[in-house]
């Protein structure tokens, strides 16, 4: 138990380092981009009506002062961290003066909810079916499933998403293809609202699950076809141990360890996949927010979304890391 605590502490330090490096990278990328938020706003204002050049210049100066845009980069960087630790990332520029953090917090539950459900579903179902398919190699249903998974797995998330939109929104319009919930439902802790959310999440979740399922199915099946030749599996079979017991506790249990590592490694990729998926389904999550922010030249909001993404993905990997020694007794926590 003591060893485990030291292990947790070590991983926590790693987590902090990863978050720091990731957010710093996001900061420099957004701040060194040639898009200037001041010019974006001035341009937008100037396009709406005619102003005297003097008025525009005044606006430019006022905005520069307001955004502190003329400070040197390293000062901005230090200021950013000073504010970051108290959870303040500054006002969003396109929804001025709403704090960027507030926008992020509004979008976060949507993305986390969607991703968590999709990942947990695709990982467990994919691994279970993959394990069974690797063990019962002559089962017709599982064989057919393998062929389908092999065909779907290389298709990118967004293509699957478009296909789903086409099928369930156009050819057979039975499911909502856009938004997080129905327009006529008032948000609140009501049955109607929750059902509406679930209803709207079916398609975006399905597009993630379909692809994710194929990936874990194929990975698991390949792993299992190796594990079934291990001595401990052969021996258990020879001893007449019931085959359900062999497949779950001897085969799948052993293959689950590398599959969990695989999941941790794939998390970042899955997250970037969601950004596009959300865009396709007009889902009110981080992905949609990020795309809006980038299009509006809102550096603060871009930075806030990326920081939150770094923290979320790194924390998820941290949790998976903590599970690892519990799943495999041979992993040394010292």
């Amino acid at each position: 138990m003591r060893d485990y605590l030291t292990f947790v502490l070590k991983r926590l330090v790693q987590l902090a380092a990863v978050v720091f490096a990731g957010i710093s990278a996001a900061f420099f990328i957004t701040h060194m981009s040639p898009i200037s938020p001041v010019e974006m706003i001035v341009g937008r204002v100037a396009a709406q009506a005619s102003f005297s050049p003097q008025a525009l210049q005044d606006l430019r100066e006022a905005l520069t002062e307001l955004f502190a845009a003329d400070l040197p980069l390293h000062i901005k960087y230090l200021n950013f961290w000073a504010r970051f630790v108290v959870g303040d990332l500054g006002p969003s520029l396109i929804a001025f003066p709403t704090p960027a953090m507030q926008l992020v917090m509004r979008a976060l539950p949507w993305t986390v909810g969607l991703l968590a459900v999709a990942i947990v579903m695709s990982w467990t179902i994919g691994n279970l079916l993959g394990g069974l398919a690797g063990y019962y190699q002559n089962n017709r249903f599982l064989k057919a499933f393998g062929v389908v998974a092999m065909g779907i797995q290389p298709i990118p998330y967004y293509i699957v998403a478009f296909l789903l939109v086409l099928i369930f929104g156009y050819f057979w319009p039975v499911l909502p293809i856009s938004g997080g919930f129905a327009m006529n439902v008032r948000p609140g802790f009501t049955m109607e609202y929750i059902l509406s959310i679930l209803h709207h999440s079916i398609l975006p979740a399905a597009s993630l699950v379909i692809v994710g399922l194929g990936i874990s199915f194929l990975g698991m099946r390949a792993l299992v076809s190796n594990i079934v030749t291990e001595d401990y599996v052969t021996y258990a079979e020879l001893a007449g141990v019931k085959s359900e017991r062999v497949v779950f506790f001897y085969v799948i249990r052993n293959a689950a360890v590398p599959q969990l590592t695989g999941l941790a490694m794939a998390l970042g990729g899955i997250f970037s996949g969601t950004i596009i998926t959300e865009q396709v389904f007009g889902y009110p999550g981080l992905g949609t927010l990020l795309v809006t922010a980038v299009n509006g030249g809102d550096t603060t909001l871009v930075l806030a979304v990326s920081s939150m993404a770094v923290v979320a993905v790194a924390s998820a990997i941290f949790v998976i890391d903590l599970l690892h020694p519990l799943l495999d007794p041979r992993v040394r926590v010292k």
């Binding site: 007449g240 001897y250 041979r330």
Partner: protein, 344 residues
Amino acid sequence: MAEYKNILTVSGLKAYYKLDHFGITREVRAVDDITLSIRENEIYGIAGESSSGKTTLIKVLAAAIRPPLRIVEGSMTYRFGDKVIDPYKAGKDEVDAIRWKNLSYVMQGSMSVLNPVRRIRKSFEDFAFRPMGLPTREFWGRVETHLKRLNLSPDTLNSYPHELSGGMRQRMTIALATVCQPQFIIADEPTTALDVVVQKDVLVMLRDVQKQMGSSVVFVTHDMSVHANMADRIGIMYAGRLVEEGPTRTLFTAPKHPYTAHLVASLPRIGDRSPKAALEGRPPNLSDPPPGCRFHPRCPLAIDKCKVSVPPLEIVGESHRSACWRSDDVRPLTRFEGVREETL
């Protein structure tokens, strides 16, 4: 001749590996026409060099064959009390019903036969609970008594396999294979990869278990000194065939097959300074064995008859069979004093 009760009768058994690579079919005759019987309450050792078909034979006996290994001919019958069963003719459920209860198996490479992510206690439950058919408490009582009898601590049950040393893991595996008190135990190289001190412990343990329970043990090893100390009877295999079989003492002191004579003579003994001569040649390729006696290309006694006709395994003495046309002319190459007299 004395009457013995046989627990296992094998006759004319042939098991071949059938390999099919891109349309070219190859047949490896790893077990070719074996006839033998194992008696109740005896330790039967199977000896022979690598690739002589020992492990294949033992897999066949344990009904543990998988493609590409296939039974081509012959029969194999176990007799457990009143129950008579041929595992290759009975259904899977019937075979599963005798496993561990009547027939257990210690696999080659016992280091890796325990599930690495499962506590040993769980393995005992998986393997032995159903065959024993006892209520939970009595079951664990029985397991702990068994472990204590083998001088193993019941606490070891709570370990994971990787927490134990190689010798300890091997002992736990043997304990696992014997906990249901089966009448028949098959052990494939039970001491390979262990150092001599641990080897001795493991062998003593295996023999004690056999004595206490009165079961029959068939074991394979290429270590002739282990055979000398363990086995009541030994079967010598060469190129997939049983070439000689007899009581341990007889085989060491008066072998009736030239291969056995050379095998026995290759054993080093304390005080023996004579150089060890090796036989010319190598064991034959089992996918294309020589005609006649498979040993004839290397045999110093070979005559023309050996090249064309296969010698049958014939009785040459009390419980002693040999497959050689010139078995009467075989003389021991060394003298063995005190085999089986010294204890382990």
